[in-house]
């Protein structure tokens, strides 16, 4: 497993602004992911954060809206750009640590856009 922290834990933002969420892992991991979980809903994969290259986005998510960085094997950021109330959600990072496929999730960032 891995110990994952996220900053901030929550934020309230005005529409039109941007927020950058940080994800820090206590060990080097092979893969990092970003998910969105809207209130009372399931998890939707936004993108896979690739170390040293551009993130791989899922259908419905684009780099201009959700730019992602992964400068090393323990850290990644997700920016939610030009926010609207529809972006209000919990954003979670997760990691895959080894050859098996289970993922370990960070505590999440609860974003409210007003």
């Amino acid at each position: 497993s891995a110990v994952i922290s996220q900053k901030p834990s929550r934020d309230i933002c005005q529409r039109g602004t941007s927020l950058t969420i940080q994800c820090q892992v206590d060990s080097q991991v092979t893969m990092m992911f970003w998910y969105r979980q809207q209130p009372g809903q399931s998890l939707t994969l936004i993108a896979t954060a690739n170390q040293g290259s551009e993130a791989t986005y899922e259908s419905g998510f684009v780099i201009d809206k959700f730019p992602i960085s992964r400068p090393n094997l323990t850290f990644s950021t997700l920016t939610v750009s030009n926010m609207s109330p529809e972006d209000s959600s919990i954003y979670l990072c997760s990691v895959k640590t080894g050859p098996t496929y289970e993922q370990y999730f960070g505590p999440g960032t609860r974003l409210t856009v007003t």
Binding site: L43, L45, T48, E102, Q103
Partner: protein, 111 residues
């Protein structure tokens, strides 16, 4: 794209009773995982099933993977208040690493 369906969406259980949540995929899965999310918490990995027909147990929890590797179930016996939360199944296709989550079953327990 891959769809993982999960039912029921809500399960209200009397303490001490059993219940089952079911997942069904539109495509064959290479493996399926189960996660538990407590209210206000984040998903926590419970188990992974890989083999056709596989059955695994964790104390009062029994996990099954169907013979065709398209469906799975989680059965909890003698439900306790500590079982409260949302249980998600998540499937992985062959040659892929991405999880496709079911809608989740939210469990509440009446004492």
């Amino acid at each position: 794209g891959q769809q993982v369906m999960q039912i029921p969406q809500y399960q209200h259980v009397q303490e001490g009773e059993d219940f089952t949540t079911y997942c069904n995929s539109s495509t064959t899965l290479s493996n399926i995982q189960w996660y538990k999310q407590r209210p206000g918490g984040h998903p926590v990995f419970l188990i992974q099933l890989v083999k056709s027909g596989e059955v695994k147990k964790q104390k009062r929890l029994t996990f099954q993977f169907g013979e065709a590797k398209k469906n799975s179930s989680l059965h909890i016996t003698a439900t306790q208040t500590t079982d409260v939360g949302t249980y998600f199944c998540a499937g992985i296709r062959s040659n892929d690493y991405k999880l496709s989550f079911g809608a989740g079953t939210t469990v509440t327990v009446r004492a």
